[in-house]
Structures are given as C-alpha cells and as structure tokens.
Symmetry: C2
C-alpha cells in the first residue's frame, strides 16, 4: 500500500534512542484481528437521551446496530479490494494518536492491498482546506467541521472510501454528522471515530476508556510522586498541584489513586455538595491544622483545573462582572462595587488581590473575564494562607505555612504512549480499518475486555448515535456526546473516598516512578479503568 498525497515537509526532528526503540517495536494484536474475522451486527441501538430528537437529526444512521468482530473462516471484506482512506487528528493532543494511525496503516497493508492512506494535516482544517500528506506527523487542530460542503469537496476530490476521525466528544459528534451527511447524499465515503482525550471524559459501556488518559495520568503521577518525596524530605512545603481537566476531574482522581496525596479536590463532588470557595479553603486549612498537630508541616494537594467551574457562586460572580465590565467603568473609588449582588461582592472581596486584578483587567477578545487564566492553585494558596493567618491570631494554628504551586498540563499530552495506550490505540486503528473495509459508517471504534491480556480483547464498533443526547442551543436541538463525569457512586471515587481521611492525616505517599516500557510494572493499566471494569464485571 502507498502512503500518498502531496509530499508533507519532512519532520526534521531528531529521534531519541528510546523513541527509535519504540518505533521498531511490533505491537500485539487482539486474537480476533490476527486471523479472518467477520462483522456481526448487534440489536438496533437507541441514544443516550431524547431518542426522538436524535432520530430526527440522524435519519440515515439512527438505530443502527453496534458491530462486533468475530473469528470466521472467510473474511467479510475482499482482501483484493483496495481502499482510499483519510485520517485526521482532531482536538487536544493525546499520547497514542500515531499508534491509531499505525494500526489503520497496518490493517490496510495486510488486509486491503493496494490501498492509499492520506493524513489530513493540522486537524479538521486539513480536510476543509485539502491539506493532506503521506503517512507522517500530521499534527492536530481544534477547528470544527461546521461546513460539511468543504469536507465533501475534499473527500470527493480524493475519492475517499473512508475517513477516520480521531478525537474527543465534540470531534466524534462531528464525525457522526459527517457520516449522516455523506450517507444522505449517497456518497461512498464512510466515517469511523476513535475515542481520544487525556481528560478521560469520553467513555461508556462499549468504550471503556479514551486513549491518552492512561499515559497522561502516569506522567503526572510520576511528577506528583517526586514532589511527594521532596515534600516529606524537605518537611516545610505544601505543594498545590493543578491538573488538566476543565470539564471533569478524572485525571485528578486517577492521580490521587496512584499517589495518595493528603488532599484531593474533585470538582464533581464540590458541585454535588454545593461547596463554596470558603468551604474548600476551610477544608484544606482544617487538614493542614490537624497535620501540624502531628508534626507534619508539609503536604501535597491535588486540584482539577476546572474547579472554579464547579462552584456556582463563582459562576454567578463572573457573569455579574462580565455585565458590569461591559457597561460600566471600573473606577478606583470602587463605585462599581455597588452593582454586583451582595453575595458576589462578598466573594470578590474574599479573593486574593492578584486574582481580583486578573478578573478586572484581563479580558478575552469579547471583553469577558478570562476564567481559564485564573491559576486556581495559586488562588487556593493565597486563600489558605489568609485563613491560616486568621487561625494563628486565634491561637489555633502555630506553624509557618509555605505553599508551592505546580501546573501539570502540556507535560502529559504528548509523552511516549504507555504500553497500554500503545496497544489500545493500535487495536483501535486496526479495528477502524476493518470497520471501514466491511462497509460500516457512523461507528466509533470500540475495544473492550481491557483487563484481560491483549490477545483476549474484544473488538468492534459502537453506533455513535447511541452515545448521543441533545442540547438546546439558540432555540435548536444540537446533538452532543455527553461528557462522562466522575460518578460519586462509581468505584474509583468510592475507593478514594474510603481512603482520603487516612491519606490526609498520615503519609501514605506512593511514588509510581517514571513510566516503564519493560519490566514488571510496564503493563499495569490505570486504577480508574481497573476499578470501573471490576465493578462492571
């Protein structure tokens, strides 16, 4: 098979010895993908919510069954049929994307000889602008395919039989819209999605995890583990670590399960129990005071970057500020302070000065307060400092509090994929090839039974419409794949909740160390996946 298209500029990067050894590795495949297989359809599917609306939005796809690959003497697809396939990385970076492409490439080479694989460059924009290249580093992008016409033009021009969209909830929703559009127009191009996001919030029964989550959490946990050993040895700092995850706190929860910090804030719990910023601050200060009584004047605290989004009073403050900033002058005399509600003003006054200034001064191009720019961990440090100062004056806290802030984000989105992610992605990509080859569209590549050895993994595709619900936006129903939040009744959170008091007051720090590709620890997967699969079994 040929990796074809306009030549992509050579990726002039040096390649480290470890990268080279990973590139040479041949990855294991699930047994069902090693030999002839057939695609067996399951029962008709529905949607995650509002099936009537989803049916209206996807008249050509709604209700289609999920597919399962099973061993067979004869193959479903003719091996002499060659395919033209495009692949695109969509949205935020995640370790393993290129393993999906490798899996797809190897499928085509082994099962559909004479095929051509195009990589769209720079994400969905590559489809819309017909920027594509051979099999090379194709980058990702955050554009959305809002105008299917451009995508149509490109796939027609390239005469594509199939398109593989590697992305998160939004990208897979758009993949399904494309699949619907192509089928409606009786185009031959089929579309298959793959679940990618380090945030871990794209998952359901058939798609037990999104790729990248395992690697990212292991990288973050390595760093947290190192900081923990430092905290204990140095004995004088509280480290506040902010972790990626704006919408859901899966990363923070997983890192907590891997490392056992003294305090872990889970956004979903803060929202469910309607905690205020003061409540969160007091909780942290309480633990610090109790630890001080035991002689521990150090600790590690994990916070999800989306914490502020989970606190309703802050949301209220921000919307009121946006209103005021749009219409009034923020004067030095503070006259503007008569405008917000008394509760919002009270919260504003509670915030550290630097955060106040940030809220008032830094705005996005639409003039809105930039919540994303607030460094939650630094805000918490200052609030805890103020609270402890207050307690010191009351005589209930006698120690020095020294906070140190960390943000772990970009460091984990592009690491070399763990063995789990490498194998999982390779299987997802290989399966995407198989699904396209056997004529499927509007499915997300699904690999299950993940606690078993790779050979025993189940492989198939799940109807994307079955993951969907609708949201009302601008008076219209828009289809969405709902983000999977941390379930307070789920096994991972319950495990954490059962341990957190012990972890808070004593030191049960666990340093998982750097991600290993060989040796006894190299094939261990993450706690979240194991606990969820065990609970579901």
């Amino acid at each position: 098979m040929v990796a074809n298209g306009t030549p992509a500029p050579r990726f002039a990067s040096g390649c480290s010895e470890l990268q080279a050894s990973r590139l040479q590795l041949s990855l294991p495949l699930p047994d069902v993908l090693k030999h002839s297989f057939q695609v067996v359809d399951g029962p008709p599917s529905s949607s995650a919510g509002n099936p009537d609306e989803i049916a209206k939005l996807f008249p050509n796809l709604f209700g289609q069954p999920s597919a399962l690959l099973v061993p067979s003497d004869t193959s479903a697809a003719a091996s002499d049929q060659s395919l033209k396939i495009g692949v695109v990385l969509s949205g935020g970076q995640a370790p393993g994307g290129h393993n999906v492409i490798s899996g797809l490439f190897d499928y085509l080479e082994e099962r559909a000889q004479g095929s051509t694989l195009y990589g769209f460059r720079g994400g969905p924009a590559g489809i819309m602008n017909s920027k594509y290249g051979g099999f090379d580093m194709i980058c990702s992008g955050r554009d959305k395919i809002e105008t299917p016409e451009h995508a149509e033009e490109t796939v027609n021009m390239l005469d594509l039989d199939g398109l593989v969209v590697i992305g998160g909830d939004d990208s897979n929703t758009n993949a399904c819209l494309l699949a619907e559009n192509f089928r409606e127009k009786k185009m031959k191009t089929r579309v298959i999605g793959c679940p990618k996001t380090i945030d871990g919030d794209l998952k359901c029964k058939e798609v037990p995890t999104s790729f990248g989550f395992d690697t990212a959490c292991k990288i973050y946990s390595e760093m947290i583990g190192n900081v923990m050993v430092d905290a204990r040895s140095t004995g004088k700092y509280y480290h506040f670590v902010r972790l990626m995850g704006r919408a859901a706190s899966h990363i923070t929860l997983e890192c907590s399960l891997q490392t056992h910090p003294n305090i872990t804030i889970i956004g979903e719990e803060v929202a469910a129990t309607k905690q205020t910023l003061k409540n969160v601050t007091d909780y942290i200060a309480d633990v610090i005071c109790k630890r001080a009584e035991r002689g521990y004047n150090y600790g590690v605290i994990l916070v999800p970057e989306g914490l502020i989004d989970f606190i309703p009073e802050i949301q209220q403050l921000i919307s009121e500020l946006n209103e005021i900033l749009a219409n009034d002058v923020v004067d030095g005399d503070g006259m503007w302070k008569k405008k917000p509600g008394s509760q919002s003003l009270q919260i504003f006054e509670l915030l550290p000065q630097a955060i106040q200034a940030q809220l008032l001064l830094e705005r996005d191009p639409h003039g809105n307060v930039q919540v994303a720019k607030i460094e939650t961990e630094k805000m918490l440090i200052e609030m805890v400092e103020t609270e402890l100062e207050f307690r010191r004056k009351q005589g209930v806290y006698k120690n020095d509090f020294r906070g140190r802030s960390h943000f772990l984000g970009y460091e984990g989105r592009c690491g070399l994929p763990s063995n789990f992610d490498a194998n999982y992605c390779y299987a997802l990509g290989y399966a995407a090839g198989a699904l396209l080859h056997s004529g499927k569209t509007g499915l997300i590549s699904s690999v299950g039974n993940l606690t078993a050895p790779v050979e025993k993994w189940a492989v198939g595709g799940t109807a994307l419409t079955s993951l969907m619900d609708v949201e009302r936006r601008h008076g219209k129903f828009k289809p969405v794949i709902k983000k999977a939040m941390v379930e307070l009744e789920g096994a991972p959170f319950k495990k954490f909740a059962s341990m957190r008091e012990e972890w808070a007051l004593n030191n049960h720090y666990c340093n998982p160390g750097p991600l290993q590709f060989q040796g006894p620890t190299s094939n261990v997967t993450n706690h979240t996946l194991m606990l969820e699969l065990d609970a579901g079994a």
Copy 2:
C-alpha cells in the same frame, strides 16, 4: 551489623510496585570493591587556590594525599574491627542519597562485621541536636554546622569512629572543617564527604560529577521533550521553561543537549559577554521573527533560574532598590524614582508591571527585594511580548505570539535514581565505608573512569583541602569549594554552541522519553559527563 539508635518513626509511605522492584535490585560494584583491596596514597596535594591560606585554615589536613583503592591479597583494614558510623544528608534534595547510605551499610555489613550505622535525622541539625535513628528515611536539611562543639558532643556521645557527610560544596567544606577540628582535638572520629547536588556544580578532575544531576536532568528532559512534541503538534505556543540552577547553568545546558530546544540561555555566557536584559530579549525576539518567516510560530526556550544573577545591570538595580526601600517611602507619585541611577531607572521602566510590583512590594525578613521570587520565564515572556508588539507596529513581525511558562524544579530532585546515579551512589557509599575503615579523614569519596562499565570504575578519595580556595568575608578568609561553572571553552558548551543556530531555526527536537530502568537506553549517562570525560581523555 545493627542499624541502631532511638527508633525513627516508621516511614508510613506506601511503596509503589516500581519502587519495590528497585529496592530488591542488587547493584553492581566496581571490581576493586568486590575483593580485598588496599588504600594507596598519592603525592601530597595542594589547594585550588591560595594554598598558604588553606594551609593556615587546615593545619592538620592540608597537603594530605588523595587515596586510591587497588586490589590486594590482604585487606588494609581488619575485618573483625567493628565501627560506629554516622551518616547525614545535607542541603537540597538529590536522587540517590539513600543509595549512598545503602553502599555504606553494605560495606559495613560485609567488611566490618558488628558495626553500627546511625542516620542523623533532618540534616546537620540532627548532629547538632543529637537526633538520629536507625537505617530509615532520614530526610535532609539546610542547616550548617557552624558550631562544631555541638557536633563534638554528639559524636563523642555516640562514640563514632566516622561520619559521612553527603552534600554539596558548602556541606563538604563544613565536613572538612569538622575533620580538621576532630583531628586537632585528637578525637577518633573521621569525616568523609560525598558529592551531592543536582545542580552539577561540585566537580573537578577527581570527582567527575555530583550525584543527582544525571537523574534530575533526565526527568526535566522527559518533560521538555513532551512539551516539544506538544509545541510542534499544536503549532501555536512558545514554551518558556525555567530550570533549577541558581549559581550555574549546567542543568539547562545538559537539558539542551538532550532535547535540542530552539533557544537556550546559559547564564555564564550572558555574564561573560556582558549581555543586558534587553540583549537577551532581543535575541529571543530575533529567533521568533526568523522562525515566523519559515512558518514556525511555536518553539521551546530554556532558561536557568539564576539568569537574573548573571546580569550585572539587574544586580545594580536591585542593590539600589534595596537602599531606597530601606530609607525612603515608595510613593504613588513616583518621587522615589529620582533616587536610583538613570541606568537603573531605565531598566526598571523596561520591566513588566507585575515584576515592578513584585520588586517593590515583596521583601524578605531583612527588607530586601526577593530576587528568588521573580519568575524569570514569565518576565521574559512579557518582555518578548512587548518587543514583538513593537516590531509588529514596525511591520517586521506579523504573527501572534503566545507564551506559556513552566518551572521544573521540585519534580526532579526526588525521582527514583537513574541506573547511573544508583550505581554511582552505591559505589560512593561503599568507598566512603572503605576510606573510614582504613583510617582516612578529610577526603571526599571519589569514583572515576565513569564512561567505562561499572566493573572498571576507579575508586578512591580526594583530599577536600585540594578542592578549596579562600574568599574574604567580613575581613576574614573563609575556605570555600568553588562552584564549578559552565566553562565556555568546555566540551559541553562548545557542542551546544556549534548546534544552536541549526536548532533555533529548524526543528531538531529530541524527546528522550521517561527514564528507563531496563532496556537499551537504561544505562546511558548524561551528555555533560560523557563530553567532559571524552575531552579530558
């Protein structure tokens, strides 16, 4: 042998699977340490500078020869002689400290049966306050042994034959002062140092590297490599990474050699070429503009945390500010601005507002400006932003500049030691035991020939006085082990300088990946050490 003393509180930490597998590992020893050996003295030594003053400061130790361990049919020290030894971790954290202790422990167990090893807890303060424990996690501390009387009391009380001080330049200077003091008083306690600092600035011909540097640089380089892949894939951010190293830029240089960033600022070069902050800013802006012409609107920039200390004009500004802040009121009307010299005022006005505020508002307990609190990478981002805005108005730069800041510090000081550091530390500790056992004092444990396999490593001890020079402080000569700075004529810097233009304009990013304990990359050591040893060979 017994690990003895008042019981240390159990280290209640969980132990990860990888930690457990590392703990079970038996480490290789240099051949000379595997069998009987004798200690052979070299020629008399001198000092690194001002030998007359060093001779006066160390009348009992000055001139003593370095020692080399060589194979022998009979052992120098009687194996039935039991020893009482104390060990202390002094100064900042570094990966491998406990491997030194393991080496020392194993020496005593194998070669001096019936011995007792005491770990002083919390660093040198543990010696002064007689806080010690069995062989356990003993933590480190930054106190200095300024009052030898307390140390004397403790070592006499414990009847110590020897003390091993694991530390950096300051700690080893103090170890030598203790050795001198003990010998002067005809006490039996001997003192041996071990070279520890992630900063890599304690080294000389006989002590080719300090432990911890290898591991820390590999951890930082893993993170930098990940950020590079992210930068290239995302295509829209300039990542400014500040790295540990206040006095010397070895870490920044080593990480640059491992990862090939677009820009690396080396403090020693900034100082030697008398660059101003504006020069540094312009250099960064120049590279960004040239990259923009090639279509690259992203990049990675490494900066040592000590950068500001290398820029004389900033030092001048800070000392003038300290003067003003001590005597005048910093008034809103800016009357105080008439005080500083015009050059200093110009530099002050050049600084971003947030940095200006930080300089004026945040002081240490002595009322001094807190230079250490300045986030150099954020300051540079703001200065580059301003410069590029100016160039945009001139029409010579047309892109959006988006900076992202990172500080890699605590994440690297307490990682699981690399194979190199684990083996190096184990040999250093084992050698420290051998040196004490054969009656040596005032030496630093030295392991050489490090590019060869462990079996061929050379083992001995170097006279601490031979590393020393004097500095005049408060009218007195104080002995110091001079920090080893990045040599602009040295092989590592020259290698970097020969590549940096290519790295600046093209993308030669190298992602070394996570530190491996098994497999082909696990025994590779760092570039700095290899290049220096090759050049010296």
